[in-house]
């Protein structure tokens, strides 16, 4: 089980959290300008690296807030957690 550092509440066990998928996936500002390839990428394609991965978590059984985590997907070590809107470390 991961020990996840919530930027608002501090380190808490993983069972308090819900995983929110890859972070920094941005919906186009003007959807009418997005072609089929762009929509396919936005809807279905995600980074699946063996190594550093930026991902969203929500402290579902705590403060309830979303935040981002940088985790190594091979070692499962969490390298950083940061608030939504902050730049990726």
């Amino acid at each position: 089980m991961l020990l996840i550092p919530c930027p608002y509440c501090g380190p808490r066990p993983e069972i308090e959290f819900a995983y929110g998928g890859e972070a920094h996936v941005v919906r186009a500002a003007d959807p009418r300008q997005v072609d089929d390839a762009g929509w396919t990428e936005f809807l279905y394609f995600r980074n699946n690296p063996r190594g550093d991965h930026a991902e969203r978590w929500r402290h579902a059984f705590g403060c309830g807030r979303f935040f981002n985590v940088k985790r190594n997907t091979y070692t499962d070590q969490i390298e950083a957690s940061y608030r939504i809107g902050e730049t990726r470390p």
Binding site: Y19, A37, Y44, F45, E55
Partner: protein, 417 residues
């Protein structure tokens, strides 16, 4: 190939078993092959076997970075069934089931295929509606599946607890009698031995580090930890590592890799006659011929390549097992492990050509690849040999996401992910 039979066993017994030969060679990689398969699991070894036997392409190498059958082939819970909802999936998984039925004879290798039946337990109205819909859809597709009352389910599987006081009471079950289990290691070994006998080189401890392409973009070979190997056809059958291998050819895949866990108990006398799955409280269980209870747990919530899962996931499954089968409450678990499963957005596999000429992919089986092993291998070999998919695997192409022709089997995949 040294054929196995009762007579061969008797002959070897008289010679103190000193005449058994290795089941496959350990060759050095050649400079070039007609086809290369990346990944020596059941799917990859099977594809090499069918390329050699059905399509006459015998100059084939299977490249495996570890040892054959050491990935998900050796880590799954060996369940085989074909009761999927949609026409495309029913055809795909039933094709595999057809091949399973003759596999031991075909390979001259006992894969211990046992059609002991798979019982999928319903716990609420939603389960009943969903399972009955599957039963009716399966019947229309000629796939056997039947609805049982709780009493009928208990008659089929006596250890099952159907007491009304349970937190998640059993309200019925869907039973596929033709489904069952097989010995997973034997599937990899049987295909390896049969493929080797037809001339296929099985090269272990050989990790692919790059995919070579010419100016037109066509595949020309691979770079490996044991040198460069040329080939105009490369099939990727690398399960959880598919995204990483495809990236070597500059292709992004609609896949995410998650750890999936399983565990086995201490061995018991025969007690458990079938396979039982519960999607809702999330457990699946069967008993191996060695006597261990084989228990499947869930995936972790997050992308990971760690090949081990979190303990709370296994705990959750064991809680469900203890409620469904109170008889097992004092059992001790012996081993617990994880494998990395590659999951697509629609929970259906990708099996076909890619935008890179000469590069083929068989991936995205998520938590349910073992059951499809012979079918997927056969269809993958067909696709590679003809450079054109078979009608059964044609719908499982990479383009379906952009085209919006998804095959959404999220409800049929037993593991919630």
């Amino acid at each position: 190939m040294q054929r196995y039979s009762a007579l061969a066993l008797l002959k070897q017994t008289l010679q103190n078993h000193k005449g058994w030969q290795p089941q496959w060679r350990d060759p050095e990689p050649k400079r070039a092959y007609d086809a290369i398969i990346i990944g020596g699991g059941g799917h990859g070894l099977g594809a090499a076997y069918y390329l050699a036997r059905k399509h006459g392409i015998r100059n084939v190498a299977v490249l495996e970075k570890g040892w054959i059958g050491g990935g998900n082939t050796g880590r799954n819970t060996t369940i085989i069934r074909s009761n999927y909802l949609f026409d495309e999936s029913a055809a795909l998984y039933d094709h595999a089931l057809d091949l399973w039925e003759g596999l031991s004879q075909e390979l001259n290798y006992n894969v211990m295929f046992s059609q002991r039946g798979v019982l999928m337990i319903a716990h609420n109205v939603h389960d009943e509606q969903s399972f009955k819909r599957h039963v009716y859809s399966n019947r229309l597709n000629g796939v056997d599946n039947a609805w049982l009352t709780p009493e009928q389910a208990k008659a089929f599987c006596p250890p099952l607890n159907i007491a009304p006081g349970m937190r998640h009471a059993v309200t019925g079950a869907a039973l596929q009698r033709r489904a069952g289990t097989a010995r997973h290691d034997a599937v990899a070994w049987g295909y390896a031995r049969a493929a080797d006998a037809l001339g296929v080189d099985i090269i272990q401890n050989c990790e692919v580090t790059g995919i070579d392409r010419d100016a037109s973009g066509r595949v020309t070979g691979v770079q490996t930890t044991r040198g460069a190997i040329a080939s105009r056809k490369v099939g990727v059958s690398a399960a959880g590592s598919t995204s990483l291998v495809m990236e070597m050819a500059g292709l992004r895949m609609p896949l995410e890799s998650y750890p999936l866990q399983a565990l086995v108990s201490e061995p018991l006398k025969p007690i458990f006659p079938c396979v039982v799955m519960s999607n809702t409280i999330h457990a699946y269980i069967s008993q191996s011929d060695k006597g261990e209870l084989v228990i499947g747990a869930g995936t972790d919530a997050y992308v990971s390549y760690s090949q081990r899962g979190a303990l709370h996931i296994a705990t959750h499954t064991l809680e469900a097992i203890c409620e469904l089968f109170p008889i097992f409450r004092r059992m001790r678990m012996m081993r617990n492990w994880g494998g990395i499963v590659d999951v697509t957005p629609d929970r259906s596999p990708i099996l076909g050509k890619t935008p890179v000429p000469g590069l083929y992919v068989n991936c995205g089986w998520g938590t349910g690849g073992f059951k499809a092993t012979p079918g997927a291998a056969d269809l993958f070999a067909h696709t590679i040999a003809r450079d054109d998919p078979h009608p059964i695997n044609a719908p499982f192409n990479l383009e379906r996401f952009g085209a919006g022709r998804l095959i959404d089997e999220a409800a049929a995949a037993a593991v919630a992910h």
